[in-house]
Symmetry: C2
Subunit: 199 residues, 2 copies
Amino acid sequence: MSSKSEKTRARILQTALDLLESGNPQKTRMSDIAKAAGISRQALYLHFPNRADLLIAATKYLDEKVNIDASLAESRTAATGVGRLDAFVQAWGNHIPVVYGGARALMALSDTDAEAQAAWTDRMNAVRHGCAAAVDALIRDGDLRAGLDAKAATDLLWTLLSVRNWVALTQTCGWTQDDYLQETQKLARHALCGIDPNP
Amino acid sequence: MSSKSEKTRARILQTALDLLESGNPQKTRMSDIAKAAGISRQALYLHFPNRADLLIAATKYLDEKVNIDASLAESRTAATGVGRLDAFVQAWGNHIPVVYGGARALMALSDTDAEAQAAWTDRMNAVRHGCAAAVDALIRDGDLRAGLDAKAATDLLWTLLSVRNWVALTQTCGWTQDDYLQETQKLARHALCGIDPNP
DNA sequence: TGCATTTCTTGACACCGTGTCAAGTTGACA
DNA sequence: TGTCAACTTGACACGGTGTCAAGAAATGCA
């Protein structure tokens, strides 16, 4: 209600994101966040009941700031099904590095914390809807590979576009973001349409 | 060196794997493993310096028992490059569920523990060698898609065959193991060879 | 058989990070 | 001036890991 409290809350979230982004993410204990935000550790608990909720709130805060829905919506304007697939892959692929810092912590926490897993699943479901919409557009254009139904195609696309795969290719394998985008677009076209419709 | 100690060590590792496999993996604290192995918690520390080392040893123990190298070697006998790709995907794909219980804990620990991450990376590098060999066979047969060099193809195949992707499709999306194998084989062929050489 | 060595047990404790509780301070604003 | 919300300080419980010391029990070897 009071603007003071809201400002502090936003500062906490932004600080948490900064810590997650730059520097090693192990160093984001409650005390680290508090210190960086210029606040006492206990004051954090006046705003968030526990660490999981804080991290969840932080990623939601980031999502609102960068507005993923707007970038994904843009891909809906493409004329053909394949064009839309390309646009979707590109929009989401470019979104990943923006949110990765925060998402990373949530992914790690998902292995142990049920609430964090729910939050992460919720985020990923949003992506899944985008995948399903892209697949629908392919079906309308008759471009979906034979022997692949809507569900399987969505599952496949959603798996291909996972954050973990982005990490594997760009971080572990050292691909540039452009390499990642191009190859993933090609891969998605091959996987869903069978042959390369836009060589 | 005494056989007693070796037997206890093996029992600890087997117990740890059993716990990781059946039941929730959060319930594999040092005390849980000790209790299940019929040993005192402190005795664990006589065999393993810490929890990370124990889990690493457990996955290596499992690897030796199931002998992944043998199953992968079998895929090397395929006549054509594409046949070899299929065989490799199948061999590794069938290996994943066998080791998943143990691997899961190591993956989770990789997010926080450097040593666990090294162990996991080491395991994944073994798979990567198999991927590289399969790609080489494709190149020899001239079946590699245009615009894809050996490194990129290996990176791609290795990413496709990640345990995380197997989890996404079989656990999250509910695919059967057969669905997973068939679609992943098709996907790999499309991704690496461009068109489907074995419809 | 007896004795030393290895293996394991019991019980205590330090450390770290999370989360909680209570009492006190500061500042806004009515 | 008094009240209320936001925050501070300092203490503490809890769970899980890892450590230490002293003693019991099994094992191997003479």
